[in-house]
Amino acid sequence: MKRKDRPVAGRALPGNESILRQLWRDPMGRAGMIGVGLVILMALLAPWIARFDVAKMNSKAKLAAPGAEFWFGTDHFGRDVFSRIVYGARVSLEVGIVAVGIAAGFGYLLGMIAGFFEGRTETLIMMVMDVIFAFPSILLALFIVSALGTSILNTMIAIGIVNIPVFTRTVRASVKTVKSTDYIANARSIGLKKMKILFRHVTPNVLAPFTVQATLALSGAILTEASMSFLGLGIQPPNPSWGSMLSDARKYMERAPWLVLFPALFIILTILSFNILGDSLRDVLDPKLKL
């Protein structure tokens, strides 16, 4: 009751600047933003950046080393690795975004319901989530793709489903925290309806941990797609995803190291950027970690 709030006067007033500005100020956040920005830019501008048709084979340039014509070399079909990397950014990002979108959408809904309504609904939802969670994610994804058939959409759906429980849990936990705060009690005390409280007051406050989770899940999705490609259930050729490029390149690792090097480099760059961005975002969004 009587607890004095910790000194606050010395604390920076966070909302004075946008989250993006705050991220930018943190060197890690900036690095993450630049990395993610580059990848997104590459994906968006793919048709303009790419130098060749990604599926165009060239028997005269099989496994050509990086050079003036083929910046990143060519693969065993003589296809330009650079162009495939550029378009691969599209595919990989698309997989990541759609999969995370699916996971986030369902996770959000289920988490909100579970967190807000408690009781049996919650028990049931969380039980289902536990069931999904209990599967190793890669096996579950394989299972789903096996059932639905291999296609890029199904890959995304599979990765999406695998990630639903993480989001549900995150959202539910935040809903529960937010729900116990005074401002939700306040909203009730002024006579706001339950559903409105849910959406107007809980949602914006749940978004922060949710966004962090999404950036992290996005990099996870890109990796899962790569693993699925390795196990033969990735996205359909000749569409290049970085994961499938990397997987296909293993045979040529020694003959044509650039086939491994470049996709790996871009995957690393992307995953690192998303992770670092997620970390910094967490720091920015979580006032507890601030002084």
Binding site: M1, K2, R3, K4, D5, V8, A9, L13, P14, G15, N16, T181, D182, Y183, A185, N186, A187, R188, S189, I190, G191, L192, K193, H201, P204, N205
Partner: protein, 326 residues
Amino acid sequence: MTERKSEFLLEVRKLQVYFPIRKGLMKRVVGHVHAVEDVSFSVRPREVFALVGESGCGKSTTGSAVLRLIEPTGGQVFFRGDELGRLSEEEMRLKRRDMQFIFQNPYASLNPRMNVWKLLSEPLRIHFQLSPGELRERVGEMLRLIGMTEDQLERYPHQFSGGQKQRISIARALITHPSFVVADEPVSALDVSIQAQILNLMMELQQEMELSMVFISHDLNVVRHISGSVGVMYLGSLMETGDTEEVYRHPVHPYTRALLSAVPSHDPLHRSRHIVLEGDVPNPADPPGGCPFHTRCSLCSGRCREERPELREIAPGHCAACHHVE
């Protein structure tokens, strides 16, 4: 005031709030935390009734239960003669226009993602059908009352100091022109110099808007200043009630006396002779039998351990729950 069945705006009778304690394999309820035990009091129109006591005494729970923010376990609350416990959830929701709650911690009770305009217009949108112009007018009027300006409407709570936030908090509660407000420790999170500002504001508004108020506080000085009558709570029960000045000048319950004497004086030359109570407040999950205070009371007798004293009137309007008070 439409109909007037009693002289009181609010009557609380034998209010009980128990929180279940669950244990064991099937999560059976094995006991209850007796947060509020048989609390009765009444508030007249335009009166400020204060609930005072130490942390965990159940004063805040009482406040929340009165407004059904926590569902009471037992007892009745009458507001303008209506028994609130009988209202449906929807009816209660509509009733909130007239009964509001001010929270202790303005840092936590304002949604950090809503700006002042949204915070203040929200209650109006819920309870009234107003045109945008009327809405703006009502919000503007409220802003003036709390001493803020319209150019601050676009700002978010974290851009304000604690005192300003509490002003906004108060405005949010009062903007629907309720006739009754529960204020739960509205100044305890604030610095001394700011406390006075907020208290002044609350008193002004109370006068101006003809508010009735249940004012919950642990700060005896604040309570003395703001309230007309007071109830002293200990371990979920009312120990003493009455006119504030009367209770402060002539405390009869041993707990009230100890409480009042514990307040540090502000005069270094007259360091007060405290009645220092021994020990701690008992666990509300396992309250002592008899008088709840008997474990720390210097007057404790056999009867106190056995029998729970009722709140009895010992002087006109002055009640105490003690076997030793005549």
